[in-house]
Symmetry: C3
Subunit: 679 residues, 3 copies
Amino acid sequence: MDVDGTRSFAERMGGVVFGGDYNPEQWPREVWDDDVRLMKDAGVAMVTVGVFSWSMLEPRDGVFEFDWLDDVLDRLHAGGIAVDLATPNASPPPWMAEDHPESSMVDRHGVRVGVGSRGHFCPSSPVYRDRSLRIARRLAERYGGHPALALWHVGNEYHAECFCDLCDERFRGWLREKYGSLDELNRRWGTAVWSQRYSDWSQVHLPRPVRGRVNPARQLDYSRFNSGVQLELYRRERDLLREITPSVPVTTNFFQSISLLDYHRWGAEVDVVAFDTYPDPGRADAKIKAAFQYDLMRSIGGGRPWLVLEQSSSAVSQWPRNYVKKPGRMRLGSYQALARGADAVMFFQWRASRSGQEKFHSAMLPHSGTAGRTWREVSALGRELPRVAGVAGSRSSADVAIVWDYENWWAVEGCFHPVNDFSYPATVLEHYTPLWERNIAVDVVTLTSDLSRYRVLVVPNQYLLTTDRQEALHAFVAAGGHVLVSYFSGIVDGDDRVVPGGIREVIGAHVHEFAPMPPDETVTVRAVHGQDLVPSGFTGTARNWQDDMVAEGARVVAEYTDGFLRGQPAVLDRQLGDGSCVYLGTRLDPQSFAVVLGTVLQRAGVTPVFDAPAGVEAGVRIGPEQRFLFLVNHGDATAVRLDRDGTDLLTGVSWTAGRSIPLEAAGVAVIASPSTPAR
Amino acid sequence: MDVDGTRSFAERMGGVVFGGDYNPEQWPREVWDDDVRLMKDAGVAMVTVGVFSWSMLEPRDGVFEFDWLDDVLDRLHAGGIAVDLATPNASPPPWMAEDHPESSMVDRHGVRVGVGSRGHFCPSSPVYRDRSLRIARRLAERYGGHPALALWHVGNEYHAECFCDLCDERFRGWLREKYGSLDELNRRWGTAVWSQRYSDWSQVHLPRPVRGRVNPARQLDYSRFNSGVQLELYRRERDLLREITPSVPVTTNFFQSISLLDYHRWGAEVDVVAFDTYPDPGRADAKIKAAFQYDLMRSIGGGRPWLVLEQSSSAVSQWPRNYVKKPGRMRLGSYQALARGADAVMFFQWRASRSGQEKFHSAMLPHSGTAGRTWREVSALGRELPRVAGVAGSRSSADVAIVWDYENWWAVEGCFHPVNDFSYPATVLEHYTPLWERNIAVDVVTLTSDLSRYRVLVVPNQYLLTTDRQEALHAFVAAGGHVLVSYFSGIVDGDDRVVPGGIREVIGAHVHEFAPMPPDETVTVRAVHGQDLVPSGFTGTARNWQDDMVAEGARVVAEYTDGFLRGQPAVLDRQLGDGSCVYLGTRLDPQSFAVVLGTVLQRAGVTPVFDAPAGVEAGVRIGPEQRFLFLVNHGDATAVRLDRDGTDLLTGVSWTAGRSIPLEAAGVAVIASPSTPAR
Amino acid sequence: MDVDGTRSFAERMGGVVFGGDYNPEQWPREVWDDDVRLMKDAGVAMVTVGVFSWSMLEPRDGVFEFDWLDDVLDRLHAGGIAVDLATPNASPPPWMAEDHPESSMVDRHGVRVGVGSRGHFCPSSPVYRDRSLRIARRLAERYGGHPALALWHVGNEYHAECFCDLCDERFRGWLREKYGSLDELNRRWGTAVWSQRYSDWSQVHLPRPVRGRVNPARQLDYSRFNSGVQLELYRRERDLLREITPSVPVTTNFFQSISLLDYHRWGAEVDVVAFDTYPDPGRADAKIKAAFQYDLMRSIGGGRPWLVLEQSSSAVSQWPRNYVKKPGRMRLGSYQALARGADAVMFFQWRASRSGQEKFHSAMLPHSGTAGRTWREVSALGRELPRVAGVAGSRSSADVAIVWDYENWWAVEGCFHPVNDFSYPATVLEHYTPLWERNIAVDVVTLTSDLSRYRVLVVPNQYLLTTDRQEALHAFVAAGGHVLVSYFSGIVDGDDRVVPGGIREVIGAHVHEFAPMPPDETVTVRAVHGQDLVPSGFTGTARNWQDDMVAEGARVVAEYTDGFLRGQPAVLDRQLGDGSCVYLGTRLDPQSFAVVLGTVLQRAGVTPVFDAPAGVEAGVRIGPEQRFLFLVNHGDATAVRLDRDGTDLLTGVSWTAGRSIPLEAAGVAVIASPSTPAR
């Protein structure tokens, strides 16, 4: 594989890719011709095939039926449609579970699950590993040279979690390798607490049910182990495919914010990052959460364009209530993804299933066929996207990074903490929201990422602070960077072991005690006179948590005016050379938080990518010759004043700088201008 | 058995039967004489004996102790009290579980339950099946000729559900018989979805736990299978009893609205329908729910009188809070059952237990004995009922039918639907309520029932529409019937497979998309000018759901005035010859729903059985010579104007038509008039 | 052991003991010297060592490592610090679970739990029993003569609950011994209900999962059995220790209000009562609940002083949100315990752990070391306590007793009751609260305690009333005592079998029926004119429950003025010689309840220990020469007028009777006066 699989894939596909999952095995052949015809009508350029086809391709152990797939690929190719071909490991056929019971996963409570859903395999089972690799090899050998093949799709939404004896043995092996000796494990897990000292490796197990809760260091190691188990599964198939078809890029589809996988580790392992996005139309913050996830996908790929590999044309079916995407909203969300770096807009799935668990999941071609709004909107989008073909391959840049750290997630939501209903995704989104609202470009990183390109670093509740993370934070500030870090940060090392004063040096304060607040209580914070971080006279409210701390080098810029910590510091500001570190010892109300963050941005000279009205999301992508300003209107009808000349690719209308262009509710504009150096 | 076991039982018992469950095995013999004396005081005509007596009758495998039961039956007979004798299969003795562990049920999660409660058997266990039949045979042989024996009572409230290997094997056999081939099963279960295709019968299992949720077609078949398993259990005992005692009618007691059994299939299998009714005194809608269940019981028996075999004299004990029946309410509820076709008023149980799980369940003779209100009300009712003896055997007729379809229940509450908190019983009750409020006589049917006698058919959310159901619906309208059908109807066939347009022809519209609404949102609907179904100018509200649809032949009679479907159709009206079909694409507020339904009734010329004030439930039963008007006052004191001459059987007072009779709160009147042809 | 281990321990320790749990095995030796130095700074007199040290003392089966503990005890002794040495049975090392799987507990659902937490042993396992006794013997033999040893601490917070086959066999044996014959068990468990009659002992099992709920008599016996299992575990270690070190007192630490142990049975088994107290700073009623628990601890020890063996210096970590103790509140709570009879103030733990499940549990020496508020307050308290050294050994007396009966708890919260969300601890606390608010001294007893010293007995909802309890209640009133008893009392005997009229004689009324009320409903009660228990004209509200009853000898002193029991009795008053029994047939609002209770107290001539302002808790302890009045201010700053001359031990200031001493918020005074006969 050449260095940049993303580029090779992009070159193959040409523009913004439109398409979806295609499951022809659910339909008689007479439907297939109709499919290809309608795909062409809708501008489909690529379809994903074979994700759940294992039992149709190998109905019995070692008995293969490829004829139907040959036919499908030939028809698609004849129709000019490329194929993203999946290895089907996400759902082994029933014969495997029946003939090899140990190939099925065992849940945390020791129950071996049955077939009839998906994702039910044990990732350590020799039979599963052998047979999944075997069918991947067969597919690669048979279709590696097929002209329709544009991309390999390994598995589906990896999220295995198995507690069987095979996995138990493997966990033990992983620990032996990590720790070398049992003494070292005992030391770092802190087994002197509660009489947990191990005297033989055989005593060490997966975190199966205990009375109460398990040692948190053991749980944390399990999270690392399990994320790695799946990456290993993916890599062995990827390596096989690369060996057989070195010129075909390989990916797998990431999804949502689940905690089972450390996606930062996966970004470099795929040739092109692909994401399944399902923002909930019933939630007002879904668009912000989506933006964050898109920034994450772009960031884990090192800034490369990525693919929306799945989204829904309208409602999904897995939630308690599944709301439709109202008129224009599917298009709006598609452009939002493009604005944040996507080069593809694809759907699950092409044709709505008639049977099974997902039959009410919307599709490009729904049960009502071409008669209704869904098809109208889907096919209109497919026909419109070629207008923005030039966007493909263009990239963004950001001066601000926000930390989203899976290891921290695993640790900070651990048991027996001061607040045990803490949600890391929620707090990160809270830190991200004012950046999104002001259209500040943001990358999503960890403290172990390359931070040298950023001027501002937002660090939400970084409970887990390994030595390397701690040093990176120091280095960032020392190099003149500006950091905003919030309470319950720098508490433990990588073994979930408290390191008193772990962040004391950076924030310039000593946190003596954590004081969680009742959920419905607030306290007032007030700017300290003469400080510049918060405007003089400013007051706000705080909730959830108060650090009981004393400044040691930092300036107190806001203090509590009531509660038992009245007069004590709430917000600190520390200058370190040209850099600075702002520390929040509490959870500020959104407005106050935005004020503090605004000052940090100002201090660093960070400005929005575009100064848009409220509700209008702006994104800028820059190609070799053109610069693209995306305006995505989540709010009501408005007008937007342009800051430079450009042409709206969607309408073909040219606008001069200073002119206001109308933007209706759910409206989108993509303004192309000549490329200039990044602002 | 002669054709009509209900009639033979009624002839034996004479009038309205009064009595209850009698568990003498819980008491020393010195209590028994007291029991019979008090039973006679209270007018008890029949008691149910032996429901939970297995371990007292057969304390060890094959060791029988019948002496005590001989004594009980003799004493009862001597007291002139008939016996409803139970086969005790609902609770096998502890020795069976201990000596034959496989005879105990295994729950969905694989746990084999212990003894100490009841209903813990595996319905497929050879030992259970052999021993339960053996003791039934012994009882039949010993007591078949006993003069007290009036009725056989097989088991108790069937509701088994077992996931053991024996049941698994049996499910596989049931599927083989149903589908003939694995290919056919694969096709109809849609196993091409998610790689579930089976290649050997051994791979097919009960819907035991999977990762996520199981294939819904498999789940639906399991519901059918499990309902059938229990009917088979019942039938084998019934057939045995019929063989040994051909002249004794056989029944079992149905209960509440549980989804495990398709009671429509059971109606024809019992010689007399018997029901256990436990309306919750803490719920305002309990009386409507009870009315619905009574209509169901009457309907599954083909209109035959049925028995209240169990009710409580006051509070029960199985709920979080168990409220008493306030003064007069137990009597009121008893007459409500008579008004809707019952010929018996019986209780669980005669004498309150001192031990066990039901010791705080009220009884005819409570712990406080004859001292308190409960005994006063119970014995007063028992002494009063002979006044309405003439009611026994009389029947009702209805012009309206409402669909209550167990197969639809199983399917419509399935997983991964647009709305996953949907309650079929709640929606059916919502459709039934305005009929009850207006005293419209209603039968409870399925679309596969004989519908020829009805003029109006109410079809709540008939998601599952098999070909025969679809044809029956067509035929009903074609024959001049009037149908009201609500949204999410005609979606899938009997395999839970989507059939696009399955109901398009009947409703005259194409539903493109389902749009569930947030639980607390409403939209406004307005009558379309010039249409007659809803009064011009009428507006109402709708919630929960909106169909996005276009009329194709139907007239739009109401449309949305706000929301994203503003101006789109909400209610449709289709004329088909003399018949019509009204379609609700949303959930109307109760008042608006009543208006729409009222017009349909008017169109069909359906009128109430009696025009009573609000809160007064009216029922009419017609015997060979007399017509009985029941007036059951759930509300405050009021007066009711009679429409014909008659005599109140409870007071002996005669009234002439046009006179108002007073009806106090919780008051009842039973007005007998000469029979005339049904109105 | 001499008769009074409490006294021998007190003599050894001298004054009020200050200290905490010390877990040196979690720290390198270089920390130990620092520990001893800081302990001395803080006035620590005793530390608890070894509670969770098993795996450090015996890392492999039979391989012991005592060197480190030798060192620890020597250093402590050198520092003048006594040791409370624990036997480590609460958390067996991992080798035991691995090498002897049957030594781990099995939960109610049949899952054998793993290691990694604590309390995971099976109390019936021969290996566990052998090895736990072996290490206790080793400790006793090695350290029995160590000069630091002041107290043995057996295990930790006993709360085992195991459902394995070994425990099952043991339960069967316990039942055989209790009942003698299976016939007797069948009779008393009421197995005639639901066909549960046993015909062989092999059929009888632990209350493992059944379909629905298990026979309540069996469940009740299980509760008795399981409480006894743990007492037996404790006693065998205690007996061993007594044998080896006859002069060292033995205790174990009780904790919170868990229902697994009948602490009344444990009081006489320990040489000194020790308690772990964790009032929740987030709950306003935590101080009242704490007071109740302290009264319980004092009462089960027969009035002997007891030890606070664990409390937290600030927040704990096991709750959803863990609030800090605000400034002064830890000291306040410590004096509250002293006021109610404690002779020690100790903490979990000395030095905050860095690892494991309790690392965020506050400590005497927190992660912030000596820098913050916690250390300031802890060390200040330790240095202050010597001023009240004279308190040690002094005792209290009470004229009022409240019943807190574990057997009743087990039974009254059983299944299938009229109200199934009933909380016995909540109702007892509700009865206790007005006594606490008025500073009435209260002992916490059962009806089988020696009641002869009391004038008033408060009996909350005594559902379970065995013959001996019934006779004790009779005897108390007959002897001139005054009783207040509330509804749902006297319902069942010791076999959970209803005994109609079980309390009829004492209360002078016949309860016909229980009428639970909806949670949000109230009714009004009004004083009956001319009665003296409640002031004429008084009205109040009632909720939750109404007895439908008739007076038989009692006077009706309050009746309902609305609801379906309008005009019926709500509160009864019965004179029996010089004694009386007030019966509440409903749950009165707190104010009305306080009025009724106040009249009963007045009738008995009971007065507060001290007449303090609202929010000020007062306790009196009397020693051979001095009387100590504790004033503990839970409210705002106030002043308290003294009733006799005295000296505040904390300030050294002397006050004369009639003078008001200032008491700030969270302030405490300990006024010493010459002893006089108890008021």
